[in-house]
């Protein structure tokens, strides 16, 4: 029964039914915004990219085959939107690079993660996460903060599951190294 309703829901989404899409937005927008906030460290950019993500997903809804969950598919679109925006930004400002390290012209108050730094413990943990390499940072955010499984992460990042597992494990060890001051 539940499987049937899920299938019907998927059919409604693929047929472009507005009510079904509204339900998808309500269920996923917070998760997608948070993911983009971690990637961009910029509230307004994360908001823009969230809107672009859902607009793009709606426009290409017929391409969604239902092999992965819609949440995973939206994460993939959001990640690609972020990559595109970073490429565009790097073209404009060559000096700005790095993932999750914030834009230099954006004050820290615009960083949606700023609130997290009120707590000393969280601030130190966040600072350590920001020191990770891009692929490690994304792995940590997707797995531990967004709660995606390795299989889902592999779909989002378009890499084998084994690679994702290795990246996450490597990132965790490096993070521990930063926190204990051994790296």
């Amino acid at each position: 029964m539940r499987h049937r309703s899920k299938r019907q829901n998927l059919k409604d989404i693929r047929e472009g039914r507005r009510e079904a899409w509204e339900a998808v937005i309500c269920q996923n927008y917070k998760l997608i915004y948070r993911f983009l906030a971690y990637l961009t460290s910029d509230a307004s950019l994360a908001e823009d990219l969230t809107q672009e993500t859902f607009a793009s997903a709606w426009a290409n809804i017929s391409r969604f085959k239902g092999r992965a969950s819609i949440g995973t598919w939206l994460h993939k679109i959001a990640y690609n939107k972020f990559i595109d925006s970073r490429r565009n930004r790097e073209r404009r400002v060559a000096s700005m690079s790095g993932l999750g390290k914030g834009r230099r012209d954006v004050p820290e108050t615009l960083n949606p993660l700023y609130r997290l730094m009120a707590d000393e413990h969280s601030r130190l943990l966040y600072e350590a996460i920001r020191r990770l390499e891009s692929f490690e940072y994304v792995a940590i955010v997707l797995h531990y903060i967004q709660g995606l499984s390795f299989r889902e992460m592999a779909k989002v990042l378009d890499v084998p599951v084994g690679t994702v597992k290795w990246q996450t494990s490597h990132a965790l060890k490096r993070l521990k190294g930063f926190l204990t001051g051994r790296v």
Partner: protein
């Protein structure tokens, strides 16, 4: 970094670090975002979706026709092959009637020659 925190990090295992990350405070989401997202949904269905739906139906129809044609061809081939492998009754009778004896041929000498040939090629008793 205070001494307590330093000690806490030093005592940290990978498992406890994983737990710390899982309970990391959540980022605040702008209150207006949901309304903005819902307001930007176009009233019309995505055209690509409708086009693809038509394309899918056409594709399914093509597939059905092709499958039916393949099945028909296979059935025809099987029927023809079956007909050839099972000779008709008349043909069987004709073959039986066409025995060499009726035509004045003697089979027995021919068979005895064959036996002789087998004996000749039996090297079991040969001495080297």
């Amino acid at each position: 970094m205070t001494e307590n925190q330093e000690k806490k990090w030093d005592d940290m295992t990978l498992e406890s670090l994983e737990a710390e990350l899982c309970s990391f405070p959540q980022v605040d989401v702008p209150e207006t975002l949901e309304a903005k997202l819902l307001a930007t949904i176009p009233d019309r269905r995505p055209e690509a979706s409708m086009e693809n739906s038509v394309r899918r139906h056409l594709g399914a129809w093509d597939f059905g026709v092709t499958a039916a044609a393949v099945v028909l061809i296979l059935a025809l081939m099987l029927t023809v092959n079956y007909g050839l492998s099972e000779p008709s009754q008349t043909l069987s009778e004709q073959l039986t009637d066409m025995s060499l004896l009726h035509k004045g041929w003697e089979l027995r000498p021919l068979l005895s020659d064959q036996n002789a040939l087998v004996e000749d090629t039996n090297y079991a008793n040969c001495r080297w």
